[in-house]
Amino acid sequence: MQKNNTKIRALTGGYAVAEAWRQIQPDVMAVYPITPQTTIIETYAKMKADGLVATEIVQVESEHSAMSATIGACAAGARAVTASSSQGILYMAETLPVVSGLGLPIVMSVSSRALSAPLNIHGEHGDVMAVRDLGWVQIFAEQVQDAYDDTIIALKLAEEINAPVMPIMDGFHTSHTTERIEILDDEVVKKFVGERKVQQSLTDFENPTTFGTLALQNTFFEFKIDQEKVMQKAKAAYKKICGEFFKISGRKYEMFETYHLEDATSVIVIMGATGGTAKDVVDKLRQQGKKVGLLSVKLFRPFPYEEIGQALSHISRIAVLDRAISFGAYPPLYQDIVSSLYHSSSRKPDLASYIYGLGGRDTMQKDIEKVFQDLEDGEIDNKVKYLV
């Protein structure tokens, strides 16, 4: 089945992302290589040591500095990237809105993990949910193949819209699992991402530009409205780039994936790695004649409200599964699904909220079957339930 321009390999998610970066060869990668870092940067550093990449790897003294150095390099016109996880992302949180505010096309590969305290660095979406409102595009991967593909798509998307993008894979479940994946030909990837077209650069001394100017009460608001316009453009750009990516890879990505949704009555909405587990459950229950389906969200920011609302408009019972907790509120994905449905349909489906997999807790197929069973039994109310 091997296509002419692809190689089949067995790689972990972390390695697969590093492999995508090797093919892209960014100019600069600024990293802070201690726990809770990902395997992406140690793999990439080894590639550098082996002479496979020309990227300037800048080792800094903190995650805050990692993003700051990436900002500097990107503003100077370089293609600059980094990777982080968990507490590391929170440590750089101060700089994340700077990236989006400056309109810098930085890509940060994320292996999504829990936040302290208590100490735990295992998989969940707590870290990326904590920074979801900072103007970064967020794309979730289900399998190792997606993590590789998302990296390439993310870079092209970031440079097309001049906004930062965070391709996200579930920590450990995707980042540390070895799977079979298809690697595109180096030249194909190179051609696909092309060269960065720099509109303004700090180092363009003929045309000096100010980055991050002071914007007071009379202009700051407009800057933020402009930023939101960029985010809204991201959806169309993502669709277009996914279309182009399909042409080189044969793999099709959309803002969200639907699985047996057409005639379903009970549906789970989920995001990330556990979507794979849920698909197996859907197959199993379908064999038993149950009308169940799945919607797995891929593009989380900007959130495709209208499109998802439309896709779910005929469903009568929906459970939203979040791998994050939002203290004192409904969990993040659930909130967005409620908004999607409220604005797109006059029908009101029965909606349930579940939280699963915090701190790396295993989510088994039987847990997901239980959710479908709850939906079938009408065990649906406005209380958040925990799949512990």
Binding site: H122, H173, T178, R180, D280, T363
Partner: protein, 190 residues
């Protein structure tokens, strides 16, 4: 695959440092080289040298999606029999499935330690065989050989090919070939 299942599932029990990760990934890489789909992942606990570890491996002819750990294996490989006291190594292993154990003892003697298991026990003195061939007592390659013989999840040739590809540059020709011999010895030990 011998047991002719859609998806073949294996758990490796070991102690940190024995090479369970290398063993499971070697089989995973071999399976991918043969055109199969895999998921190989560790039990995500703290990794300390000497602590009990677990590796999960799924191999299938079709795309694998589920992310849950393996709970109902088709084969179990125990690299260190002292983990049996704290780990339920034969859990959900039925009489048609196999338990491969690194041990100097006879299979029937080991059975006393896993009283609920009714299937076949394959006991291999992997440390002894490895020491004799490679000069080091890492049991993993011998056990991979035995696993391949018993389950036929991949061919011995694929495993040897992958081993060469990964290790030739790292450990040199002599040690690479000795490790492959250890694998072959594990394969022949039945």
């Amino acid at each position: 695959m011998k047991l002719n299942k859609d998806t073949f599932e294996i758990i490796f029990f070991a102690r940190g440092g024995q090479g369970a990760k290398t063993a499971s990934e070697l089989v995973a890489h071999g399976a991918v080289a043969e055109g199969k789909f895999v998921k190989a992942f560790p039990f995500f606990g703290p990794e300390r040298s000497g602590a009990p570890t677990k590796m999960f491996l799924r191999i299938s002819g079709k795309k694998l999606r589920t992310q849950e750990p393996v709970t109902d294996p088709d084969a179990v490989v125990v690299m260190d029999e002292t983990v049996i006291g704290s780990q339920d190594v034969s859990k959900n292993l039925d009489q048609h499935e196999v338990l491969i154990i690194n041990s100097k003892r006879e299979g029937e003697e080991i059975r006393k330690d896993v009283p609920h298991f009714k299937g076949k026990i394959y006991a291999v003195d992997a440390n002894g065989i490895a020491s004799r061939i490679t000069g080091a007592s890492n049991p993993n390659m011998v056990l991979v050989g035995q696993l391949i013989k018993v389950t036929e999840v991949i061919s011995l040739e694929s495993a040897a090919e992958v081993f060469r590809g990964v290790f030739l540059e790292k450990i040199g020709k002599d040690l690479t070939e000795k490790n492959i011999q250890a694998m072959e010895a594990g394969y022949d030990e039945l």
